[in-house]
Amino acid sequence: MFAVIIATVFIAFRNAFYGLSFLDRYKTGWLAKSVLVFTLVDATYAILTANPPKQGLNDIKFCLSVSLLNFVYWVAGTFLGAVMSCWIPEFDALKFVLPAFFMTVVVGFFLKSRQWHAIVAPILCMVIAYFIWPAQYFLLAILFSIITIFF
């Protein structure tokens, strides 16, 4: 059990970095804020950072609906998949949807910043991190990426 928990903490720890981008944005009551904080998964992070609020505007409602919808889709989808796994044929192509979606977000960020750095540096970080610590390369790659931001 201890090994499972340690492994999960390392995987979950990347979410701690996601929160850094929303410290100013999540200005709301404790209940809504808890919901926002605990439903901040990869895809939600991608959608919200790709759609920043207009200057000085509060877009909590938008954040909440994106977070909750993503969370419901995710839980319901996983549940349905587990229950009906006998009847649904394996559809290999669907696993490409997620990287393709993140790729469109990368394109969006590049069009805004016009910085090759944010595309090249993570690739290098990922490869180096994988050689150093294959089990937790993602977290390590985030740390390396943070360092490269300062160069």
């Binding site: 499972v4 979950a12 701690a16 904080v37 393709a100 979606f101 960020f109 985030i142 990426s145």
Partner: protein, 108 residues
């Protein structure tokens, strides 16, 4: 043998740990907000993490040995071209997935 209490204890602890890691930056909001360096990281990091997520979701292992995820990279380039051309998310995803299937089919 399946031990129910062990199962629930593990689930409970995992929930607490995940909740804690996600709440961490918000627990220290005041300290973090006053730190200019951390503000800068919060502003720039999303772009970097998106690229990391692309590689992560394709699977880093497939990049590390021949053919270096070539098929997925070609399909991703198709996504980029369609996105730059039309700026329609769903269209890019649809064409991307179709391209991925076709490329895999052709390559066998």
């Amino acid at each position: 043998m399946f031990d129910a209490s062990y199962f629930w204890l593990t689930i409970g602890l995992l929930f607490l740990m995940i909740a804690f890691t996600r709440a961490l930056p918000f627990i220290f909001t005041k300290t973090l907000k006053s730190n200019v360096t951390l503000q800068m990281i919060g502003r720039h990091l999303p772009a970097y993490i998106m690229m990391l997520l692309v590689i992560y979701e394709v699977g880093i292992k497939s990049f590390m040995s021949p053919p270096f995820a070539l098929l997925a990279v070609i399909a991703l380039l198709v996504v980029v071209v369609i996105q730059l051309w039309k700026r329609q998310l769903l269209l890019s995803l649809l064409v991307g997935v179709i391209a991925y299937v076709l490329i895999n089919h052709i390559a066998g």
